[in-house]
């Protein structure tokens, strides 16, 4: 079973919420739709569910076009951001709710409820109503309600957004585990990259109704395909430094000049040779990849420590040389003092180059 979206478009009046996206989710695959709020990810999810209608394009479930089917006829399971638990029903009744449509016997229903409540540890609260539940419990009930039957796919809308950090971590694991057992195509909408990175088989990063990149969590993080993805994924945010290409040698050693007169010679992707000297680029490097050194080297920039934020095992340092901010994360043991002058080294092979059209410059692999 699969989910396929073909040129899927949604317009609200003149506003285009989802702009001709193509997407496939395979059987058993978990895909996260990740993006800032308003990027169209929830709308996309709701179009898959049938709660919104595609203005153009198609939604295919298990190879069948379902555009014109009502949600009830699509056989999808969905968990809502606010859980959408039925307030007048007990937990057990909430869990059993989707089963009534399947005309199962009472015995079968209670068997399945028992199963699910065991999986999700809901046994103690089956008789309560949603009003009497804690947030985490509500979340589990919502998940339980979506997994209790056998739908063609699972859809989750911001499943963890209302939980506190600890609970979120816990639930992430639980949901991932449950989803692995179910082996159905699953779409999770989230604005939380950690959630996406940990739970997804693939992540689709969205912005302004378009998909910017679809790839594995690893690749989205390590190989962002454009400036937006690079900036959006990863905490602290990737350093994005405007620069001018001075020249490159064809093997990936290139020299860049920065505002303020500093220059840098580093090893980057060989594709940099496609650019002619003088091209404006943006260099992207993760804060964890920068190295602090006491003396200047060929591939270092000198700057000054502006502010130091201890984060436990690591320390986040904000640097400013008067022209640009740079963030660096180092081991907590590295001594850093505000006002100190330091040099930041760009190690070989970890700097991404984005061209003026914001796309990454990368040779084919």
């Amino acid at each position: 079973m699969t989910i396929e979206l073909k040129k899927l478009t949604k317009r609200f009046g003149t506003l285009t919420a989802v702009d001709a996206i193509d997407l496939n989710v395979g059987d058993g695959e978990v895909l996260c739709l990740l993006g800032p709020s308003g990027c169209g990810k929830t709308t996309t999810l709701r179009m898959v569910a049938g709660l919104e209608f595609a203005t153009e394009g198609d939604v295919l479930l298990a190879g069948k076009r379902v555009n014109d089917l009502a949600p009830r006829d699509r056989n999808v399971a969905m968990s809502f951001q606010f859980y959408a638990l039925y307030p007048s029903l007990t937990v057990a009744e909430n869990l059993a709710y989707p089963l009534y449509a399947e005309k199962l016997s009472a015995a079968e229903i209670s068997k399945r409820v028992a199963q699910v409540s065991k999986t999700l540890q809901l046994d103690g609260i089956l008789k309560r109503t949603p009003g009497q539940l804690a947030e985490g419990e509500k979340q589990r009930v919502a998940v339980g309600r979506s997994i209790i039957r056998d739908p063609k796919c699972f859809l989750f809308d911001e499943p963890l957004s209302r939980l506190d950090v600890q609970l979120r971590e816990e639930m992430r694991g639980e949901i991932k585990e449950v989803l692995q057992d179910l082996s159905r195509p699953t779409v999770i909408v989230t604005h939380d990259q950690l959630e996406a990175l940990t739970m997804a088989d693939r992540i689709a990063v969205m912005r302004d109704g378009r998909i910017e990149q679809v790839d594995t969590p690893h690749n989205v993080f390590q190989r962002p395909s454009n400036l937006f993805v690079a900036g959006f994924i990863g905490t602290p945010q990737m350093n994005l430094v405007p620069a001018t290409l001075k020249g490159s040698d064809g093997a990936g050693i290139a020299e860049f000049a920065f505002d303020g007169g500093q220059a840098l010679k580093i090893q980057v992707d060989p594709a940099v040779s496609q650019l002619s000297p003088g091209a404006k680029v943006t260099l992207g490097i993760r804060p964890r990849n920068l190295e602090i050194c006491q003396d200047p080297v060929e591939d270092s920039l000198s700057t000054k420590i502006d502010m130091v934020e201890p984060m436990g095992a690591e320390t986040l340092a904000h640097m400013n040389d008067g022209y640009r901010d740079l963030r660096v994360v180092t081991d907590w043991r590295v001594p850093l003092a505000e006002g100190d002058h330091v040099h930041l080294r760009f190690p070989p092979g970890v700097t991404h180059i984005f061209t003026e059209d914001e796309q990454v410059l990368r040779s084919a692999t």
């Binding site: 569910a49 049938g50 709660l51 009502a70 949600p71 009830r72 056989n75 999808v76 399971a77 969905m78 809502f80 951001q81 606010f82 959408a84 039925y86 307030p87 007048s88 029903l89 009744e93 709710y97 989707p98 009534y100 449509a101 399947e102 109503t129 009003g131 309600r145």
Partner: protein, 315 residues
Amino acid sequence: MAVLPTEKHTSPATPHTRGGFGGWLLDPKRRGALLVTPAIAILFVMNIFPLMWSFGLSFFNYKASSQRVPRFQGLENYQDVLTDDKVWERFQTTAIIVGSSVILQLIVGFLLALLFAKAFPMRRIVLMLVLTPMMLSFVSVGVFFKLFYEPTFGVVSYVLNKISSEPFVMLGSPEGAIAGIVIADAWMWSPFVMLLVLAGLVSVPKYLYEAAEIDRASKWRTFRTITFPYIKSLLLLAVLFRTIETFKLFDIVYIITEGGPGSSTETIAVYLYRTAFQFFKTSQSSALAYIVLFIVIVLTNLYLYAVNRRAAEVD
């Protein structure tokens, strides 16, 4: 609010510093009582005092049309009223009319609310069409419904006469007359029920319906498990208000049938009017009115009991 102290800091717990009567009066301890006073004062003068007056009268044999000095006669009036077959017959009539009218109002109001629960273009305007009847006076509703039913001139009669060969004389039989009154009253007040139900419907979070759609719940199940719980308390409120008001139903009955044919549509309110104003049995009518009040209070308490029990369940 001008009576409230103007000091900068007057948390309820802070003792007040101003002295004298003004200080005593404005003491935060007394603020609750102070705020309630105007309402209670007006109610006392305009409602409670006259009520007590007539309560007192109900133990005498006062007749407003007589110069005889009223004599105290204890519970005799209550006894007379409660043993009067006429009164019981009128209570029965009232119960039938209140029951069927309130039920009809609930059904119609409910269906109308369902109709208007969806957002559609021009809803504001179309909704006004339905809200208008309750803004009319009882008198005009009574007069025009009577005209509609009139066998020769009435619109309803005209249409029905075209369909059936028998002349349409709805108000000629007790059942027809009750139906005529119930239809007029329910027409007028269904919008009230609709408004309450609609408010309930609008307050149901949309995602619950979406979830039910995803969960493939039938329309009926969706209604029963999602919609109904949300409007239940409002429905009960509508039943309470409408029952209280319909119990007092007077003008429409008096204009459409005057209690006829015979006494088959004479409600307790009409009978009360006759006793007090036409027969001048002032004391007796007070006693009857207090019995009516008692019944309404019992009904109200049953309602409040039902609501509170439900609230207790939820907690």
